[in-house]
Amino acid sequence: MTALNPHAFPKRAVPVPAIQEIALEVIEIRRETADIVSFTFGTDGDFRHLPGQAVALNLPMQDGVATRMFTIASAGLTPGSFTVTMKAAASGHATQWAHAALTPGTRLSARGPFGHFSLAFHPGEPLLLIGGGSGFTPMMSMLRWLHGRGEHVDVVVAQFAHASEDLLFADELTQIDREMPHLHRVDCVSTVPEGSAWSGYRGRVSRALLRSMVPDLARRRVFCCGPEGFMAEVGKIHRAEGGDPARFLTESFGPTKAPAPAEPTEPVAPGTGHKISYRGKSFDAIAGQPLTAVAARAGLRIPTGCGEGQCGTCRLRLTEGQVEMHHQGGLSARDEAAGYILACCSTAKSDLSLEDPA
């Protein structure tokens, strides 16, 4: 009997929404803290995202469009809208502009959703959702998703902020906490001003502090987002407590610059060319020569058929580098997106690592 084979089917077990260009309109603005604002956007079509995913907003500033990545704060359970909770960073020109300029009705464009930082891929595990500052927003997305679906998972939500007035979503978290019996919520602030009361945790993240907040840290799958130093420290603590690094997932939170399309590099003359590594050998690319010919000169035969990008026999996986490719339909869009090239009609544009297809 053939074993049940759940991962070999054409449609994915966890459906990942296709990345698309999206037209947006600001439909709601809500101030969360002194320097953090939530923007809810209506989208054309039924844009959808997984909890924890990010989106690139094109901010139409006076001196040109600035594209910035933001993690999404909404759950993703209602297609057609999403929410970005954005901090106006002291040095963040674009986010300061957004806070000042975006008003209900403002139209802009975006691209997304991006990323695999989502608990959707990890069912059936005890979770820790831990975020610092506005890095808490993807945690809120995932928690809202769990709550909205009525999930009864074992989850700890930990929020780190500068002071109690900087904690995000306090009222909503209290409401969710009431309705999710297996949720444990912990907050930690680094300073408590004199004369104010605070009954939560206090201090900078440390192993002792985190262990007292989440005693069974090591057994949890951790989603962590916040400043680089914060994520590095929490990762070290998780590992020190015996956690599996493979179960510690991080997301750099916005605003970061969206990945720019790779600049094609100039072709170089033979001899000074790019290095190609393939089947354990390393050899020089030759300007203007297809990879099949270059490999043949190095004594490596790539299986070929038509020699003109039609038949796909010379399909290879490009694991590193860029090529210029002019195939004639011999490569499916799916394979191209998955990093395959046709060697007979590709030339090197950088150092390359090639592999035979599985």
């Binding site: 009997m1 053939t2 049940l4 994915r12 796909g312 869009a333 799916r334």
Partner: protein, 427 residues
């Protein structure tokens, strides 16, 4: 119908010779009784079955959701005929004989995949997804690739159920399409995805596999897991089952209010389609009767829909539930070997681990298939005995076997006489 499909020729009865064994077995065969031994065991009869049935009838391939994107293909083997079914760049389904027009090699070896072009692995003759030969090497000046397209096979999708027919002129399937569509369309089969698949080989003749499926006489003794949900009655007015009869009356009212058809369709001996309720409190074919997936199919809002049970000669049966679809396909491998493929579908947006669990969703039919395999193999061993004499079918519990064997004998007779359409279809 795509342009390269064989055109309908004027009706010209093409008669065929059945083997002496088949003719003798037909003569020996008695209505209302199991078939004589040779029908289940003999190689010559098996060859006649392939020619008269599997090379002439519409065969179920699988769900269309297995081919979501251009270039997606599946392959299957119909006796000696390897076939490719694919989606072309215009989104249209096409099927071809999986054999290169050069020297005949198969083009696709994998069970399923995605390909921009169909390329023969032998000498790289390259066909586009419409079957047109587009690239060859070293074939000389007077070689015209237009003369060597892939040979097409008829293909159609009935609300996302893909059927092929290897005959030049296929029999009519429109009656089936019209009848089944209102029953299954609300489940939106095209918007589902396969999440589990099992392929088993039963050491039994294909007709025994079908016969076993066509009655629930054996269910009480064999299928404890299935009977958590399944009611054994085959018709809504089956008086043997008073409790189920009461549930059916109640469900019929609810389903009428939802505009979901449920009454048995008159499919003659060709097909069957009916919505029947599950046992009280059961929503799905799971061990505890609870739904197998949290996300209901299509735009359905009512989880308690029992299942649309559909069967079509010669090779497929189906269950359409509120949250899951299960397809069963048989392909004969020899006189006493049959492949049974089962696929389980849920809503395409359902998330594994959160909305459904593959083991939980499949375990009832994995267990039931294993039990049916044992029953069919025991049956095969027994009918192979020289002492075997065909016994009578139960007219109460096995009327569908009476239909099936009647259809089967008619198939052989029509093949011999050169008729395409069933003579008993109107019954």
């Amino acid at each position: 119908m795509p342009s390269q499909m064989p055109s309908n020729r004027p009706a010209q009865p093409q008669t065929h010779m059945l083997s002496d064994t088949t003719r003798a077995a037909l003569a020996e065969s008695r209505p209302g009784h199991a078939l004589p031994r040779a029908f289940y065991t003999d190689q010559a009869v098996f060859e006649d079955d392939m020619n008269a049935v599997f090379y002439r009838e519409w065969l179920f391939v699988g769900p269309e959701c297995e081919l979501p994107e251009p270039g997606d293909y599946v392959t299957l083997q119909v006796h000696e005929a390897p076939v490719i079914v694919l989606r072309d760049n215009d989104g249209q389904l096409r099927a071809f004989h999986n054999s290169c027009r050069h020297r005949g090699s198969t083009l696709c070896q994998k069970e399923r995949g995605n390909a921009a072009r169909l390329v023969c692995p032998y000498h790289q003759w390259t066909y586009d997804l419409t079957g047109k030969l587009i690239v060859t090497r070293f074939m000389g000046g007077d070689f015209d690739p237009k003369d060597f397209p892939l040979k097409p096979v008829h293909v159609t999708s009935i609300e996302g159920l893909v059927y092929i027919c290897l005959a030049e002129t296929p029999p009519d399937i429109e009656n089936f399409r019209a009848a089944i569509t209102p029953y299954i369309a609300p489940h939106e089969p095209r918007k589902t995805k396969i999440v589990a698949e099992s392929t088993i080989v039963e050491e039994a003749n294909w007709k025994l596999v079908i016969e076993n499926n066509r009655e629930c006489y054996h269910c009480a003794g064999a299928h404890p897991e299935l009977l958590v949900s399944l009611v054994e009655m085959a018709l809504p007015n089956d008086q043997r089952f008073a409790d189920e009869f009461r549930i059916m009356e109640q469900k019929a009212r609810e389903w009428d209010a939802l505009n979901l058809p449920h009454a048995p369709v008159d499919g003659g001996v060709e097909f069957r389609c009916i919505r029947l309720p599950f046992r009280e409190g059961a929503y799905s074919m799971t061990m505890d009767g609870q739904p197998a997936s949290k996300k209901l199919l299509g735009e359905l809002t009512e989880p308690d829909l029992g299942s649309v049970r559909a069967f079509r000669v010669p090779n497929n049966w189906h269950h359409f539930l509120s949250e899951m679809i299960i397809h069963f396909r048989i392909l004969p491998l020899g006189p006493n070997r049959t492949e049974v493929r089962t696929v389980w579908m849920v809503h395409e947006d359902a998330i594994e681990g959160w909305d459904y669990d593959v083991d939980r969703l499949s375990e009832v039919w994995v267990a039931t298939n294993a039990q049916d395999k044992e029953l069919a193999e025991n049956n095969q061993k027994g009918v192979t005995s020289p002492s075997y004499t065909p016994g009578p079918y139960s007219e109460i519990s096995e009327f569908m076997l009476i239909n099936f064997t009647e259809w089967y004998r008619d198939c052989l007779s029509r093949y011999e006489a050169g008729d395409t359409e069933s003579r008993t279809a109107a019954e």
